[in-house]
Symmetry: C2
Subunit: 152 residues, 2 copies
DNA sequence: TCACTCCCGACCTAAAAAGTCGAGAAAGTC
DNA sequence: GACTTTCTCGACTTTTTAGGTCGGGAGTGA
């Protein structure tokens, strides 16, 4: 039940790319320093994002990375999935494929519900939202609940 | 973004205990076979549940495990937290303690929202609900969405 | 051609996940 | 009181994942 450093890094790097806009490519090094991410690790992450078609890149002087799509069309879920694969698995199996014995039958529905609820946040927030600091109402409402900030 | 085998095992074992009712203690071996969990691993899990006050146990012939509280008072979140600690962390830090640089500032709110949404499912479902196969309306509704079953 | 920057496989280390072993300690039974 | 049963619990192992590092190669622009 946790978000890996890799996924967190990936989203932050993507946010920086979104913030940079359509202008010129951003160098890996600048992404690394502005978000305080180990450069060589970040390069691998950016490469994965590129392979997944989220990011484009050019080498050489004036090279760097940029978003393949408008920031408003890229959700946090897209970025997380690009580096982590499918969201919210149980024992590294997607919940809908698991068979539970007898009494535990309904447990599957619980994991499904958790996944659905997770997606509903991650698929709704775009990189453009994040850069603007203006999250979708439903998400903002969740984060505004004082109880949501309690450590548990 | 995944549920560990341990947490899954713990919940399933707890469900079996809930299903057994207030009668006599259930042996570890029976829990292991009915839910197909490696016995010795399960014993460690049950011990943790005991240490967290969720379960009680007695040794010897006629010994076994039982729930310390009524099944309707034990949520899935209680069980998961007993074996995994706090739910939904980023880089093993609770999201509310993380500082994000500049453009990524709002990302924290996203992780907070994800956690809140996860809790809202796990804290609402009790072991009694699971045994009855009758989940709370909000959770059942989430699991009923056809889209929730799509692998992603 | 040269400096720059991404590309990418190989490698590494530490920690976590998942599970096993074996001795011991309480509880009930005969 | 011996015996059996069942939980207790620390130590150990094994496998996988997380989170990196290294170093060469290859495309790009000046």
């Amino acid at each position: 039940m946790r978000v890996s450093a890799k996924a967190d890094y990936a989203v932050r790097a993507a946010i920086e790319l979104a913030a940079a806009g359509e202008g010129e490519p951003v160098k890996g090094e600048r992404l690394a320093t502005s978000q305080d991410i180990p450069l060589q690790f970040l390069e691998h992450i950016l490469l994965e994002l590129k392979h997944q078609g989220l990011v484009r890149a050019r080498r050489g002087a004036k090279g760097g990375y940029w978003l393949a799509r408008p920031a408003a069309d890229v959700t946090v879920a897209d970025v997380v999935r690009a580096v982590e694969g499918p969201i919210a698995n149980v024992q590294s199996m997607p919940p809908e494929t698991i068979e539970y014995a007898g009494n535990a039958e309904s447990l599957r529905d619980v994991w499904i519900a958790v996944r659905a609820n997770t997606r509903s946040v991650l698929e709704r927030v775009t990189l453009a939202d994040l850069v603007a600091g203006d999250l979708p109402a439903e998400v903002a409402a969740l984060a505004a609940e004082p109880d949501a900030w309690a450590a548990r």
